[in-house]
């Protein structure tokens, strides 16, 4: 692995797939993995494929040690107060569900979300509304799809128990003003859960500085393996939460009638863990830390500006979200009325192996509300190049011209 890498060409050499498989602009769905991460996972399977935290032999000890290292790496990455605040989950969805089902919400409690939430941060609240009778309030975005702080402030009251928001939207790449949102929520006595799936891979996150209560994110969007995710929670809050899933490795002891839970994070990590995934995620955050978020943000903005400028020259194109690409991170989501978004995406793939996402990106609710069938979403990451953006624009223009 290289130190302080700022040369994209060199960075790309770390990713076995880049340059072989066309233009990968579907990073909001899943990022590619550097060889460093793949090697870390392979090392587990090849050299110490044992159980962690259970057996006493030397291989098991190594697994435990490597998983601890990964937890440390993630904790440092998020600037947590203590490493026990990191709970390994399967993904963001599981993290959100863990909070939703463990927080002890009851009838009349209010949960606030925005109108642009991924289904992962919408359906759990709809289910709790049906099951427990909680109230689910939605804060609608401003006209440019940015967060409406004023409306949010008005919605806060003593009954609001949780504010659950996507930190960065997978629909349009807009990042919400989290610090102000959290301050206001805390003032009203509410906790804040952030869906960091689209934010953690792209921006420096300091959970202490944000003072966020919970933060859930996935490994597969940040160079890590799929099937591994993280729920960060303030330790005091995690201690109070009832575990969502229970069983093996969540208790210190049990009788036929009783059990004694382990402290966080173990009490939330039921069953045999995805050790390779945890170790891979640890490697991914190390790699990202060495790349540095200054470079990541700078590269994404450079590419998104080029793409957005070009999109504005194509007749009929509407970009979802603010005009200014710097407010949309690495995401350019657009649609052309009367032109099928899936067809555009498929043709880009067919003509030049350009991989983008099309559809409603698991934000069906927003598309239904706006009566838009779907969009094409190009999402870049730091390893993408201007040359790839040029290919994308050139081919997109060609495709649109024949539709």
């Amino acid at each position: 692995m290289k130190q302080n890498i700022v040369d994209v060409v060199k960075i790309r050499q770390d990713f076995p797939l880049l340059g072989k498989e066309g233009v990968y602009f579907d990073n909001a769905c899943q990022s590619l993995r550097p060889q460093f991460v793949i090697d870390a996972m392979n090392e587990y399977y090849n050299e110490y494929p044992a159980c962690g935290g259970r057996s006493m032999h030397h291989l098991a000890a190594k697994v435990t040690h490597k998983c601890d290292e990964a937890r440390d790496a993630v904790a440092n990455f998020l600037h947590t107060k203590r490493k026990e605040e990191i709970v390994f989950t399967r993904n963001t969805t599981e993290g959100i569900n863990l909070v939703a089902h463990s927080l002890g919400l009851k009838e009349g409690d209010i949960v606030i979300t925005s109108d642009k939430e991924h289904n992962s941060n919408l359906i759990p609240w709809q289910v709790l509304k049906e099951k427990l009778g909680i109230e689910h309030k939605i804060i609608f975005s401003k006209e440019d799809n940015t967060f409406d702080l004023e409306t949010y402030q008005q919605a806060l009251n003593n009954n609001v128990k949780l504010v659950s928001l996507g930190l960065t939207s997978n629909l349009d790449g807009v990042t919400i003003p989290a610090k102000e949102i959290i301050q206001l929520a805390h003032k009203a006595g509410a906790l804040v859960l952030l869906d960091g799936a689209q934010a953690v891979p792209h921006h420096e996150i300091d959970v202490q500085d944000l003072d966020v209560d919970f933060l859930a994110f996935s490994g597969h969007k940040m160079l890590g393996p799929s099937g591994i995710g993280v729920l960060y929670g303030k330790y005091a809050l995690l201690e109070k939460l009832e575990p969502f899933m229970v069983g093996g490795d969540t208790v210190s002891s049990s009788t036929y009638l009783t059990h004694e839970f382990l402290p966080p994070p173990e009490k939330f990590e039921a069953g045999l863990q995805d050790y390779a995934g945890i170790i891979g995620l640890g490697a991914a955050v190390k790699y990202l830390s060495e790349i540095g978020f200054d470079f990541i943000e700078q590269q994404e903005q450079l590419l998104n500006k080029y793409i957005t400028d070009a999109l504005h020259t194509i007749k009929g194109v509407t970009v979802i979200g603010p005009e200014d690409p710097t407010q949309r991170g690495g995401i350019a989501s657009f649609y052309i009325p009367q032109k099928d978004h899936h067809q555009i995406a498929l043709m880009l793939d067919e003509t030049s192996k350009i991989m983008v996402r099309s559809g409603q990106h698991c934000v069906h609710s927003w598309f239904h509300a706006h009566n838009i069938p779907g969009s094409v979403r190009a999402s870049v990451y730091f390893y993408n190049t201007l040359e790839e953006a040029e290919i994308f624009v050139r081919e997109l223009k060609k495709v649109v011209s024949i539709l």
């Binding site: 099928d340 899936h342 067809q343 498929l346 011209s401």
Partner: protein, 310 residues
């Protein structure tokens, strides 16, 4: 409409290439929804359209635009062409099974299952070989007096008439099949020698006299002539040896074959055979239906047995 055409085409390709099976299955699901009066919401058409148009776009923008704009219309045209093609293929297979030719009974057009047209080839009356230039539809047994020719099992319900030439390749191909047919079935079998080559013309009076002298031995002679080399049967000495070997009175046959009466009989029979509008050999009539050229055995048997064949 596209789903249907895609299902047909992909199903055929999928037989040979496993990677197309998933697409064929997807197309089937789409078709299934359609035939159960539900909208095809699998996005299959859109996906395939994008793939096809996208592929074409790398070659020609104009062509891609045309395909995209007229995709449904082109799908319809392709569908109709495919239906027509399936119909003609089915008809061709049916004809080949029933008549040994994709084009129908005695039709000599190209047939992929018989690319060389072997099942329709005849030795032409001019002496050459080929598919013949006569009118296949005009061959008929009506008006021909079969009683003049060597026959056996007279009175049987079914009738097989073989008009052939001892030294012709295609008659030689058909002969064992006809023999198999008459041995397995009770038929009134008639054989008429119709030499299309000059070197076997002399066998006409010999055959006439041999049948006249001993009818049973004639069928042995027939078998031996078809079993012998073509060059050998062109030599009278060889045939004399055959006759002697079978037990004929060779001298009597030779005297008979040169007699004016025999000559008249031979001419009479030749005239009689011309009534069938024959233009090449073999010509086989099974219960009156004329088959030009050597057909597969199943064709002979099917025509003889009719519905009993199945």
């Amino acid at each position: 409409m596209f789903c249907i055409i895609a299902f047909i085409v992909l199903s055929i390709i999928a037989i040979f290439n496993v990677s197309y099976r998933a697409l064929a299955k997807e197309a089937y699901e789409c078709v299934f929804r359609r035939i159960t009066f539900r909208p095809c919401n699998t996005g299959f058409k859109e996906k395939m359209q994008a793939k096809l148009v996208g592929k074409l776009l790398t070659k020609s923008v104009v062509a891609a635009r045309f395909l995209n704009k007229h995709f449904e219309l082109l799908a319809w045209l392709l569908f109709l062409t495919t239906v027509a093609s399936i119909f003609w293929t089915g008809k061709g297979l049916f004809n080949f099974y029933m008549y040994g030719s994709c084009n129908g009974l005695n039709k000599s057009g190209f047939c992929a299952l018989d690319p060389k047209g072997e099942n329709n080839k005849v030795s032409q009356t001019g002496g050459s070989c080929g598919t013949g230039e006569g009118d296949e539809s005009k061959v008929t047994l009506a008006g021909m007096n079969t009683d003049l020719f060597p026959s056996k099992n007279i009175g049987a319900k079914d009738e097989v008439v073989l008009i052939g030439c001892y030294s012709c390749d295609y008659t030689r191909k058909a002969y064992p099949l006809v023999k198999q047919l008459i041995s397995k079935n009770s038929v009134n079998y008639t054989f008429a020698h119709y030499p299309v080559k000059e070197e076997t013309l002399y066998l006409l009076p010999i055959g006439y006299c041999a049948y006249k002298q001993d009818q049973d031995k004639f069928w042995q002679l027939n078998d031996r002539l078809f079993a012998s080399e073509k060059n050998d049967i062109a030599k009278k000495e060889f045939v004399d040896t055959l006759l002697e070997d079978i037990g004929y009175d060779v001298e009597a046959i030779n005297i008979c074959s040169t007699s004016p009466e025999t000559n008249s009989a031979v001419v009479e029979r030749r005239i009689e055979l011309e009534k069938t509008n024959i233009y090449g050999t073999p010509l086989v009539f099974i219960n009156g239906k004329g088959l030009v050229g050597p057909k597969p055995y199943r064709v002979y048997e099917r025509i003889l047995k009719g519905w009993r064949f199945w």
